[in-house]
Structures are given as structure tokens and as C-alpha cells.
């Protein structure tokens, strides 16, 4: 039976009840945006000497078990993995099973995100190999956590927050296992080539720098040098060769498809028109959009409008897809700054076009740095599971409290000059616009626009945007008005689900403070 520790709950600056202690560690409750002032130095891995490594640079060992043993993996340590192979990844489960084989228990698994194909981790939690997961959980893993079956507490962080936690020493990685589509025996890794090519390896960069030990696993061993190296071999302890690091069909889509839903196309068109009519779409501007159906359609509409107006962007941030690649190749943007690569066209472009640049959570998102790219972006288009009338939003849980999504770069992107949530006003019969979000992931003061199929709501804090679209034909409405209309359509407000008062996971803010709690569902 799981034995979550008793912990005191306190109200943070957002008015949410959060635990003071998480997995034995004293946490800082959220204090307000920009209020928490970190002190001290960054984490530092131990100093190594070339004397301890082979002079020929060959770090190969026969298998993962050997590598983990040589890294000194013991009970209760932290093992990290990454999601650049997405649902096709085989390496994380290989590493966890290898750890089980050498008899290690009570691990903290620290993935940059988990995927449905990794639900085998449930068995490893039941058998005690894994104590808890610090990273996004959804599907069966999410249910396992929200049903209160996980031994320790889940910790959900944004991509930038994960870098911050590693860098600040909040999470000390004992052993990082990095899946590499190409590597040389020295451990230089590249993601753009090989049978399992996935594009950028940015999610693994922090682990390679800060972990005590780093293992590279590859299915495409090339003679030194492996170029370009996205991960430097100088940070790598061991290299393991395997037959396959992932299922190519689930690593990237052959082609990403935009939505065909008329409602979602309408939302996408609204967002593009908003950028145009508000004057955000102008020469030298920048934007970020992900690979969801609405985001892809938004890019497609915006592209037409940019062509019509003769406008060229300075850079776009991805999640790259064929739609962004087309913009780059047609001269509609100078650069793609790419955090992860979603389809084959994206992979090809990243490998061949010097203006398609791989980025990391450090450059793009890390809040505890000397700024980052996210706040320099003119507009970002994001999704959400719920939005309340004060523009606060949820991206991790369903309205019934079950974990649904990771935070991804979502929280980090809220720093953009114009943050737009593009969401249907209801899904099936479930309103997306609500009185109070189930889990608070982003504060309304950072969310500027909510675009739904029934109209666009602008945050009253952004009088400049309200003024900018005066005279536009866009249906600008208040969030409350749209919400009330949706409640009429759905036959009244949904009943709020019962939950227990037992925390099972926390949501961190980008500065490492605790923003909200995910509760065990009843």
C-alpha cells in the first residue's frame, strides 16, 4: 500500500493549497510571478580526469546492465531519460528493465516526458524498482498516479522548469541515459541522422552537463567524429550499441496533418486574423506554434496572410513540421529555432538547412538564466484543457482530475508578448470555459487572448490589444459571455467531480516554486 507522507498544506500566492514537503524535500510555495529570488550557485557534477578514460576515446560497453553497474546505480537513485523519440522510444524502458535486472529498487524515474508506450513502468512501480516519477504522466501512468497508487509524489515541470530544477540542484541526476539516433564511440551524439532520426536532442542536454554519469544508447554507431554533435562526448561515460532505439513510425509522423474539423479550422483562422488585425504580423516578427491540429492550421492560414501582405518573419519557434519548413523554404521566415521535430520534413530540414537550428530548453525556456527566447516571441499559440473567466488555465488534468497531458513548454511560452490559447469552447458536452480550473498551470495575468469557435476574448489587462483590433471584423466577446452561452448549449454547468484531499503530484512553476497540487481522485 502506498504510504505518501503526511504533509502540511499551505495556501500559495495564487490561493492554491500546496504541500510544503514533496518526496522529503522542503518546497517553496509559489510567491507570485517574478517574486522568488534564487540564491547560491548552480549544481556541479564531480570533476573527472582523462586518466580514467581510454585514450583512444572508445567508451563502448557491451550492454546497458554493464553500463548501469559501472555508473554505480544503487537503490533510491535518480535515473533520467528523454522524449525526443516520443511514443516510439525504447531506450527508457530498456534502461529501467536493466536497472530491475541488476536488482536496484526505489528509483526516481526522471523523464523529460513519459508516453503511453512506457506504461510498463507501472509494473516496475508495483515491484518497487521505481518509487515515483518526476515528469509528465498521462494515459495509464497518469491514472496510476491520480488513483494514488504511486509510492512517492509526482512532480510535473515545464521543459524550462526541468532545466531549472537540474541546474539549481533541486533534482540531482545520478545516471542519465540518452537515446542517440547517431553516436560515435566517444559519445558525441546527433539526432538528425540514422534509422531512428528524430531531429533535435535538446531535452537531453541538461542531463549530459549536470548528471553524475551519462550513458549514450545508439542504433547507429559511426566512427569518430559524429557531426554535428548535439551532445558532447566529453560529458559521456559509456556508449551502448543496440539493434533499435525506437519504432520509427512512432518517433515522427510521416506527415503531420492539420485538423479537418470545421470548428477547429475556424479557431485557427481566427487566431491568424487576430495576429494580422492586431498588427502583430509585420516584417521581422516572430511566433511559436506547436504540432496540434489547430496550431498547424493556424500556421497554414497565417502563411497565406503573410504572402498576401508581403510580410516576412525573423524567426519562428517549433515544434517543427512540414508547415514551418515550407515557410522557411519559401522565404517567409529567416530562421526556424527548433525545440523538437515532429515530422520527416522537419528532420530533413534540420539536417540540411543551416537556417533550421536546434535549440534546447536552456536557450528557449530556462527561467533561471540571463533571460531566454520565450519572452522575445511576439505571439505564441497554445492549447489548454480548461480556462476560467480570469484567464487562468489548466493544461495537465482533465476536468475530472485525471492527468491528461504534460506541461511541455506551455508554461515557459506564457512569457511571450502575446499568449493566445486556441481552444474549443466545449469538448463533447464538457465545457472548456469554467468557473475554476481543476489544476492551475498558468496564471491569467500571463494569458492575453482566448480564441474559441464562438469568438475571441481579450484579457482586460491588455487594453493595447483591445484597441489594436478595434475596427476588425473578428468576433471579440467577453469570456464570461462565451462561457454562459456554452453552459446553455451543454444543458447547465457540469457538476464538479469529488476529489480526495490527498496530494498525489505537484505542478511546479517555471521558477521551481509549487503552483498547484494534483489530488487523488475518488
Amino acid at each position: 500500500m502506498p504510504t505518501l507522507e503526511k504533509t502540511e498544506l499551505v495556501a500559495n500566492a495564487a490561493g492554491r493549497m500546496v504541500p510544503e514537503v514533496v518526496n522529503g524535500r522542503i518546497e517553496t510555495p509559489f510567491m507570485g510571478i517574478g517574486k522568488y529570488q534564487p540564491v547560491g550557485g548552480k549544481a556541479s557534477p564531480p570533476i573527472r580526469t582523462a586518466a580514467d578514460y581510454a585514450a583512444d576515446g572508445d567508451k563502448r560497453v557491451p550492454d546497458l546492465e554493464t553500463a548501469l553497474r559501472k555508473c554505480g546505480l544503487r537503490d533510491g537513485m535518480v535515473l533520467s531519460s528523454h522524449h525526443h523519440l516520443r511514443d516510439g522510444d525504447r531506450v527508457a524502458m530498456m534502461a529501467l528493465h536493466a536497472a530491475a535486472k541488476i536488482g536496484v529498487k526505489g528509483l526516481t524515474w526522471f523523464p523529460s516526458a513519459s508516453f503511453p508506450s512506457q506504461q510498463g513502468a507501472i509494473e516496475l512501480m508495483k515491484s518497487g524498482v521505481i518509487d515515483h516519477i518526476e515528469g509528465s504522466m498521462n494515459g495509464p501512468l497518469g491514472d496510476y498516479c491520480t488513483q494514488g497508487k504511486m509510492h512517492g509524489m509526482g512532480v510535473l515541470r515545464s521543459h524550462g522548469g526541468r532545466w531549472q530544477a537540474i541546474q539549481d540542484g533541486e533534482v540531482h541526476i545520478d545516471t542519465a541515459v540518452i537515446a542517440a539516433p547517431s553516436s560515435d564511440p566517444f559519445g558525441n551524439c546527433d539526432g538528425s541522422h540514422g534509422q531512428s532520426a528524430c531531429g533535435s536532442l535538446g531535452f537531453a542536454l541538461a542531463d549530459s552537463i549536470y548528471a553524475d554519469h551519462v550513458i549514450v544508447v545508439t542504433d547507429n554507431m559511426v566512427p569518430f567524429p559524429c557531426v554535428p554533435w548535439q551532445i558532447q562526448g566529453n560529458n559521456v561515460d559509456y556508449v551502448v550499441e543496440v539493434d533499435s532505439i525506437g519504432d520509427p513510425a512512432r518517433i515522427v509522423s510521416g506527415t503531420t496533418q492539420m485538423t479537418r474539423s470545421p470548428d477547429r479550422l475556424r479557431i485557427a483562422e481566427f487566431v491568424a486574423r487576430f495576429l494580422r488585425d492586431a498588427g502583430i504580423m509585420r516584417n521581422g516578427f516572430s511566433f511559436q506554434a506547436g504540432a496540434g491540429g489547430i496550431a498547424l492550421a493556424f500556421v497554414s492560414y497565417l502563411k497565406q496572410m503573410m504572402k498576401q501582405a508581403g510580410v516576412r518573419a525573423r524567426f519562428v519557434r517549433g515544434g517543427s513540421t512540414k508547415y514551418l519548413v515550407e515557410m522557411l523554404e519559401e522565404g517567409l521566415t529567416d530562421y526556424i529555432l527548433d525545440g523538437q521535430t515532429f515530422d520527416l520534413e522537419g528532420v530533413r530540414s534540420l539536417a540540411t538547412n543551416p537556417r533550421h537550428v536546434a535549440t534546447s530548453p536552456f536557450t528557449s525556456y530556462n527561467y533561471h538564466g540571463k533571460e531566454n527566447f520565450a519572452s522575445m516571441i511576439d505571439a505564441v499559440v497554445l492549447g489548454a484543457t480548461e480556462v476560467d473567466i480570469n484567464f487562468n488555465a489548466n493544461v495537465v488534468t482533465h476536468s475530472d482530475g485525471r492527468l491528461l497531458h504534460g506541461i511541455g513548454g506551455w508554461q515557459n511560452c506564457l512569457a511571450s508578448r502575446c499568449t493566445i490559447l486556441a481552444v474549443p469552447s466545449f469538448r463533447d458536452r464538457i465545457p472548456v470555459l469554467v468557473d475554476e480550473v481543476t489544476t492551475l498551470c498558468g496564471l491569467g495575468e500571463l494569458i492575453d487572448v482566448v480564441a474559441t469557435e464562438r469568438g475571441i476574448a481579450i484579457n482586460p489587462r491588455r487594453q493595447d490589444l483591445i484597441d489594436a483590433v478595434k475596427g476588425s471584423k473578428l468576433p471579440i466577446r467577453s469570456l464570461r459571455e462565451i462561457k454562459e452561452e456554452v453552459e446553455r448549449i451543454c444543458g447547465g454547468k457540469p457538476r464538479r467531480p469529488k476529489r480526495t484531499d490527498r496530494p498525489v503530484a505537484v505542478v511546479k512553476w517555471v521558477d521551481g516554486t509549487v503552483l498547484d497540487t494534483v489530488w487523488q481522485v475518488s
Binding site: P262, L265, R266, R429, I430, E453, R454, G491, P494, R495
Partner: protein
């Protein structure tokens, strides 16, 4: 009071992982022990109690006292839940003569004889998920279809669904059209649909003018029964060689006819020719419709363009269609609406020229001149009339400030 003497199971609606905004209901009537409802729903946490309460109310209204009711809900809205329950009860052979009508929203303004009918969006009558946001996409009209998009076994249930949609769904500024089934089945549709005041009824596969007079008189009867005074217009669909031959008589058969349209799939099948994307094989029929419509003083409306992905093809078809004299066409996906509106809009050059003609004519009239010319062309009264019509139409489309 209705007593379940034989236990016939009634089922209606659809459920499953691919289904959205619908539900499946199975009702097994019994002689005692009251109502027992089992509910599975993806929205059970939020609306489970509401669905149960609604089911109990609908069953009570239909006089069902004892039954085992199984509901598999996929996030259906209340108007759909009511329609599916009623259909299941009727299929169980019960609830005869009783309707369970959801609360009605305010009716929009009645539609006018000569309103813009550039685009009409087809919505399959048994697919409620398409109804809910249909009004958002800016079509001039939508058609709740009871005919070809509804399986023969689903006709009774679709009728109730469409009836409830007309009562409860806000379709914004769209003209509310219903395509009934081919006669005589279509008469049964009218009994359920007409009380909800649709703006226009499309009558499929019309071949003779007496079909129109019959429909018009049935509609008038139902309207009288319910005290409905607002107009319900008619748009016959001609889909056969004989229908085309009788186009003028059909258009003149009732003063309620406001437009003629053509169904190309059936028409080309009747001719035994292949339907092509250029439409050469149906050119005669389409021109005949335009001519008959004009002669009868009604609108000529073109068929649909079926390839949703080919917006360029649609644009070409629409421009040609307008050049032939059609005033609009059907659409099968909302993405076609904007393209159709563009295709049927006067070009700015046409509009400018029309304005100049009218100005020159007015100028000449004020000077008492008999003959007016613009450039090298003489302008007479019919030309001015056409120019005025074009300006009025552009104005209705919001193209004239």
C-alpha cells in the same frame, strides 16, 4: 394510459469510440418494477445525474412506467438525448401520439422570398455532431437532410432529431432548410417538421407539378393545425430528365416555390452518362433550369461540388455557375462556403461598371435625354435594370458600403 402488454425492445442512436455527441438507448419495457436505468457516459462525472433525470422525465412524458433502460452516452446534448429516447420508445411500439418537445429557443426572423441563397450547407439528419456549431460557419442556409444521407432504417429517428434541433439549436443567421424524403415518405416528415417552422422545405426528385401542389397543401394543413402564419418556402430538386422537361410548370406550381435546383448525381444516372468535373453532360439541364426559374420569377440554384479537397475546382465551378445565371449552390463542408460566396459575388469591375451605368442613366433622365450611352455602348432600360439588380445583390452581400 399505456400499458406494456408485450415486451418489444426498442433501440435508437449510436455509441462507440468513434461516435461523438450521440448516444445509444435500449429500452426493454416490462410490466412491473418501475424504471431501471443503467448509464455509461464519457461525461458521467459531470452530467450523469442530469442525463438520468432527463431520461426519467422523457419516459414519464411518454407514459413509460416500467422498463429496463440502458444508455451508452458519448457526450450527447440534451436535445439529442430526448430525441433518441423518444425514438427508442416509439420503436418499442409505445408512446404513440405523444411528443416530448425540448424547450424552444426564440425563432429567428421569418425568411423572405428573395433572400440571398448563395450557399446551403448539407447536414446529415442522423449526425447530431454536425448540427451543434453549423450556424457558426456563415453559410446563407443549412439543410437538415432526411433523405439520401440518412439510412432507410434511420428515417424515423432522424426525423425526431431534426425536429428537436429546429427547436433548440441556435443556427445564427442561417436560413433553416429541411430536405424531406422522396414522396410519399416525405409527407410523414412534414407532420413532424412543419410544426417547428422551418424556413424552407427541399423536395427531392420532383418530376410533376402536382407533387408540389400536394406538398404545399399538406404544409398548409399542418400550419393551420398549429396556427403557424410565417411562410415556409419550397425548393424543388429536379433530378431526372422528366423533371427537367417540366421545370417551368414545377416552378409555377405553388406561390411558395422560391427556387429551383438540380441534383446532378441522379440526373446523370438517369441519362446514363458519367458526371464530370466540367459538367458538360448537364449543361443543357442546368441552362434549362435557369431559364425556367427566370421565367417563373424564382431563383436558380446549382447542385453541390462533391470534392471537398479541391477548392480550386470548386471556385471554377462556382464562377461558371454564376455566369450561367445561377445564384448559389450547395456545399458539403464548411470550408466550401467562403469559396462559394466569393464565386457568386460580383467582381469589383462589374460593380463599378454597374454604378457608372446607373449614374449615367439617372443623369440622362434628369436632362430629359432618351438615349443614354456609356463609352461606345448604348444603355437602355433592361441594361439598367440588370445593373440595379447587381448592385442590390452586392449590397446584400455586404460588398457595397
Amino acid at each position: 394510459m399505456i400499458v406494456a402488454t408485450e415486451t418489444r425492445v426498442g433501440e435508437a442512436g449510436h455509441s462507440g469510440p468513434e461516435i461523438r455527441s450521440d448516444l445509444h438507448v435500449r429500452i426493454a419495457p416490462r410490466d412491473h418494477d418501475g424504471i431501471e436505468i443503467t448509464l455509461e457516459s464519457r461525461v458521467k462525472t459531470y452530467y450523469g445525474e442530469s442525463i438520468r433525470r432527463q431520461a426519467e422525465e422523457v419516459l414519464e412524458a411518454l407514459g413509460i412506467r416500467h422498463a429496463v433502460v440502458e444508455i451508452h452516452d458519448e457526450g450527447a446534448l440534451p436535445f439529442v438525448i430526448a430525441a433518441r429516447l423518444e425514438a427508442a420508445v416509439r420503436r418499442a411500439g409505445l408512446g404513440e401520439g405523444t411528443r416530448v418537445l425540448p424547450e424552444q429557443i426564440a425563432l429567428p426572423e421569418p425568411s423572405s422570398r428573395d433572400r440571398l441563397r448563395r450557399s446551403r450547407l448539407y447536414l446529415p439528419g442522423s449526425e447530431p455532431k454536425y448540427f451543434i456549431n453549423a450556424g457558426l460557419h456563415g453559410a446563407d442556409a443549412f439543410i437538415l437532410d432526411l433523405e439520401d444521407s440518412v439510412h432507410p432504417r434511420e428515417k424515423d429517428a432522424a426525423r425526431l432529431l431534426v425536429r428537436n434541433a429546429l427547436r433548440t439549436v441556435d443556427f445564427a443567421h442561417c436560413e433553416r432548410m429541411v430536405r424531406i424524403n422522396q414522396l410519399p415518405l416525405g409527407f410523414e416528415d412534414l407532420i413532424e417538421i412543419v410544426p417547428e417552422s422551418p424556413d424552407l422545405i427541399l423536395i427531392p426528385k420532383v418530376e410533376e407539378s402536382n407533387q408540389i401542389t400536394e406538398v404545399a397543401s399538406r404544409i398548409a394543413d399542418v400550419k393551420a393545425d398549429y396556427g403557424i402564419t410565417r411562410p415556409i418556402w419550397l425548393m424543388p430538386i429536379l433530378e431526372s430528365a422528366l423533371g427537367i422537361e417540366n421545370a417551368f410548370a414545377i416552378a409555377k406550381a405553388s406561390e411558395k416555390v422560391v427556387a429551383l435546383t438540380i441534383g446532378l448525381e441522379d440526373y446523370t444516372a438517369d441519362l446514363g452518362v458519367v458526371k464530370t468535373s466540367t459538367g458538360a453532360e448537364s449543361l443543357y439541364a442546368r441552362q434549362r433550369i435557369v431559364n425556367a426559374a427566370r421565367a417563373a420569377g424564382v431563383q436558380a440554384i446549382d447542385s453541390v461540388f462533391g470534392d471537398v479537397a479541391d477548392l480550386d475546382g470548386l471556385r471554377t465551378w462556382g464562377s461558371n455557375s454564376r455566369a450561367l445565371g445561377f445564384e448559389g449552390m450547395g456545399c458539403v463542408h464548411p470550408s466550401q462556403i467562403a469559396v462559394i460566396h466569393e464565386a457568386f459575388a460580383p467582381t469589383s469591375a462589374e460593380l463599378e461598371r454597374a454604378k457608372k451605368m446607373v449614374a449615367a442613366y439617372d443623369d440622362a433622365q434628369s436632362k430629359g435625354l432618351g438615349v443614354v450611352s456609356l463609352g461606345s455602348k448604348m444603355i437602355d432600360a433592361p441594361v439598367v435594370q440588370r445593373a440595379l439588380r447587381l448592385i442590390a445583390r452586392a449590397s446584400a452581400m455586404g460588398l457595397v458600403m
